[in-house]
Subunit: 317 residues, 3 copies
């Protein structure tokens, strides 16, 4: 099978999705990220010259200050030059095709494109048409994939739980619209997690989600029982009213993570969230700030994981 | 008293306000800034490696291209990596709390946060919750404080007048709404200026402003008599119409700085303005561009003062 | 005659327009740009330290992500520090005059201003008032000039055609509103191109365009006959409806470049476009992506030409 993410030597050439990403490559990324997290200095991440003289373009067709910032910091800590492009307000609004925009950016000779786009498949499409020496990192495309988020989640799980083969992991919330959930599920199953649960109301689950190798729970109390890891999802504001959900209050009652519900998980279970959090909607403040929460370490590890991916891509050339 | 700006050795850890900032620290900042202003080369400020490998986040909850630019330039001249974040349009609009935003940015391991926020007290609040190794610089919070502006004003005064103990200084304009005026008054009195005057209509003065150690004038002709320094304030557009002021023309007639009114000050008085100027509203063009104006040197000195503050914070760790 | 672009030694001090720019200086820019385009490495452009320690301000009063990006990349490949300023939403909206904005930016001691402005003449105006050590590059002012675009076009022509003295060049489209066309015409005539044609409907031609030394064609089939170079112009969306043009479809029929019309030019004619393209309006996709198209190389050469201009300005100090 032809994997569009790997070059002919089987090395990582683009990072587009965790689906089909071989386990050894995921482990390699996590190992490399660990080098950048110097726990001796309080997890401080220092500047290294690995991408000196290289150019990274942050191409955001959909705006996201936070995600753009994490990639910008990662690239600068690798000593790359970073150019931020908000394309929403730019050429595409002038009627230019996506392919022409990509062609133009390639002609400027970047080394790496970090791409965020509202349409599923955009990163794959771009990767297909870029010049062969350019590497594409998917920073989120529609409902499809957000691989660096999933990889930093895997890093976080390994950091606290050491192994994957003995874990019970629950993903809670709006699975249907979540590129994060999709990428997490593929990464968890690839790394050999034996039991991945998804917990959500029927209206927020994709049809035939079981095919992804997960167990489905509609009752959060049942779903959280004895899990090692709770991965909460952000509830998009636009879902809180309207047909899919009765109200934010109702949602919190059934699917919000409280101390009481968390008590059903293992005592040393870790609680994760990709941010930004809706406190009081999908997660109670006492849990978000509680002893089991590893939400802020996720952010720190996210910089390290993005540095790892970028430096691997640059070296694989 | 516990000063939130100083560490336990009494060194500058955050710069939040000039209120309560000890005179020796202010003098230290001005002395250090003087090193960056090489008057032999026409006040040119060259790049130095003092913040090499450090990250400065410009976190602007309220947009200000000019202020952001001065901090960005100062940080880049110190060889820091700079990341600009406009938060107005970002996570806070997604319902995230300020504390979560700050927690996330801390987890990305910046060395310094430059913060502009529309609410008074925001910088203090953020400084209270950041990780201990992160330094916060207040780039303006509501009507409260704008300490780097006041410090560059002090630098400018010392540059032209050498001493503070023998000066008569007038601050003219909308004292009520001005964070600049508040920070100037605290800095001037701390540095021992014996006579600080505020000149404004009653509607644009805070109640009990005398408690700050200033003399109040409503008549500009009386207030300017024999002063060494005239510090003009910007009249915000939104004050020009409405209840507080009859009209911009009326304002100019009574409180606009003209050559004729300036003639009442000392012959070598300097005229300052924090910018951007409303020519013909608070200041006449002939004064803004006249021999007594030091408005553009203020901008140059502002870069040097911001470099001084940043390098002191980085060293004080 | 006093040329505002040259210093008293006849060296390039600002780049404002190709009008009156001496041929030896244009050739010098093209020669220098050729150094940055290393065709041995697939036209890759590597980072050089020529502007180490210098600051380049991209001052965009009119937004243009693409043009800003090309200058940002060029400056960063020269190792300069780059500060991006979108002034549209900033001080000018606060009532500050352009001259005060410029004065303030000068006082921050940049080495170079890259200026884009909606008003014709803005770059000349700014160049007149900047401090003598600051260099101004016009990145497009109203309908007036876009000299770096024209210079990269000249680089492209020379790259493919070697000489200028034996060429027949056609510029096709909305000459009237195009700063690109104006700058191209001046550059082509200065470099000795014996025959420059403009092809456009009467409504999209300036009055007395012949005075610029060009031949006017209203019929594209006649105008393209035996030309060596076809330079297409972008049709601004706002022209496509309204008084000047019947419709985009009509325009394409008469002035869109198709394979059939291109067949009238020389067999080895090159097709150029400044981007972003309106496929199916001014150019057919088969031509844009065809064997004669050099549209993407133009973009690459554009980085090199901007590096050449910036490094010449920095050295000419």
């Amino acid at each position: 099978m032809n994997n569009p993410q790997l070059n002919k030597n089987g090395e990582l050439h683009h990072l587009l999705t965790t689906e089909g990403l071989p386990a050894p490559i995921i482990r390699h990324i996590l190992d490399r990220a660990a080098i950048f997290v110097n726990s001796a200095e309080g997890n401080e991440i220092r500047k290294v010259p690995l991408l000196q003289g290289k150019s990274v373009f942050n191409i955001f067709f959909e705006s996201s200050t936070r995600t753009r910032t994490t990639f910008e910091i990662a690239a600068k800590r690798l000593s790359a030059d970073v150019v931020n492009l908000s394309i929403g307000s730019s050429s595409t609004s002038k009627g230019e095709t996506l392919l022409d925009t990509v062609g133009n950016l390639c002609a400027m000779h970047a080394d790496m494109f970090v791409v965020r786009h509202a349409q599923s498949g955009a990163a794959h499409f771009i990767a297909k048409y870029v010049a062969p020496e350019i590497h594409v990192i998917n920073a989120g495309d529609g409902r499809h994939a957000h691989p660096t988020q999933a990889l930093l989640d895997m890093f976080t799980i390994r950091h606290y739980k050491k192994e994957f083969h003995n874990l019970r992991v629950a993903i809670v919330g709006d699975i249907l619209h979540s590129r994060v959930a999709r990428s997490q599920i593929h990464a968890l199953t690839t790394l050999g997690v034996p039991e991945v649960r998804v917990i959500a109301p029927k209206t927020l689950l994709p049809t035939m989600v079981e095919k992804l190798g997960v167990q489905v729970y509609h009752d959060m109390r049942q779903g959280l029982r004895d899990v090692d890891v709770v991965m909460m999802l952000r509830l998009q504001n636009e879902r809180m009213t309207g047909a899919l959900l009765p109200s934010a209050q109702e949602y919190f009652k059934y699917y919000g993570l409280t101390q009481k519900k968390l008590a059903l998980a293992k005592g040393d279970a870790i609680v994760m969230h990709p941010g930004p959090m809706n406190r009081g909607v999908e997660i109670d403040s006492s849990v978000a700030d509680g002893a089991n929460s590893v939400i802020l370490p996720q952010v720190t590890f996210g910089i390290a994981v993005r540095m790892a991916v970028m430096s691997m891509l640059a070296g694989a050339k």
